[in-house]
Symmetry: C2
Subunit: 125 residues, 2 copies
DNA sequence: TTGACATAATACCAAAAGGTATCATATATG
DNA sequence: CATATATGATACCTTTTGGTATTATGTCAA
């Protein structure tokens, strides 16, 4: 009957803290932008060249990414440089990590796969 | 000019494979439902009691969660049991894990924090 | 100063999302 | 069988979203 999520041991704030990030991540174009920015900082012009939509549309996506703290923007002369802020993903990753325990109590193949991938990444391959 | 994401080393499929999951995760009510189902399997009726929206609305959320493969449903008599499918989160987690490398080349505080949390979870505390 | 360039902002539009109310269907059970 | 229960499906409504086109602003450079 009542929105009693707040009475759960999952403090509602967990849900809401990650909202900006999850919202930003829900659009494939925005995820594409994040991947682009992971390679190098870019102006809007640079980003726009990679998508078949107008600069205005790209700008809206960048705004939403910025609201979600997934990127930052700093001005340099007449250019504005968009920069990936990987730490902004933390709230979403934290939320998802809660479910690690259900991917198994006793280490499933999935959990091991994820861990191996992380290990491989760390080891540089 | 052209949507050249597909020419990137991030094969477009990565973006699209996780779309169902990211879409499902973008709504706070749906994330709340996932948390509920992490405690126990539930019928729609059960789930609905925890939210201040109609059953029809909850049903729509469950449909989207099912499309994203984040839950499964199986019929038992006149009831339909909704069950968390934690493995469905893998595509989203995989996508996010790509960014681990930017949370650091040399192990930042964030990466360590995430790893410690995982370790703690595994050790049961 | 005067263009060109880089970006921001605004108005507008169609489609998708999140809801409700209502109706339909299937299954327990007296 | 008849009825209550559990759920599904559909039509409809409002708001949000993703997009375009157009206009405004700020900065570099001759």
């Amino acid at each position: 009957m009542i929105n009693d999520i707040s009475t759960d041991r999952f403090s509602n704030s967990n849900l809401m803290q990650s909202q900006g990030a999850f919202r930003a991540l829900s659009d494939p174009t925005r995820r594409g932008i994040l991947m682009l920015l992971s390679e190098q900082d870019m102006t809007i012009g640079d980003v726009s060249e990679h998508f078949d939509i107008t600069r205005a549309a790209v700008k809206k996506h960048l705004n939403i990414l910025e609201e979600g703290a997934l990127i930052s923007v700093h001005t340099s002369g007449r250019e504005r440089i968009n920069k990936l802020e990987p730490l902004g993903l933390k709230s979403a990753v934290d939320w998802l990590n809660y479910f690690n325990q259900f991917w198994d109590e006793k280490l499933t193949a999935l959990q091991q796969a994820v861990e191996n991938e992380q290990k491989n990444q760390k080891e540089g391959k």
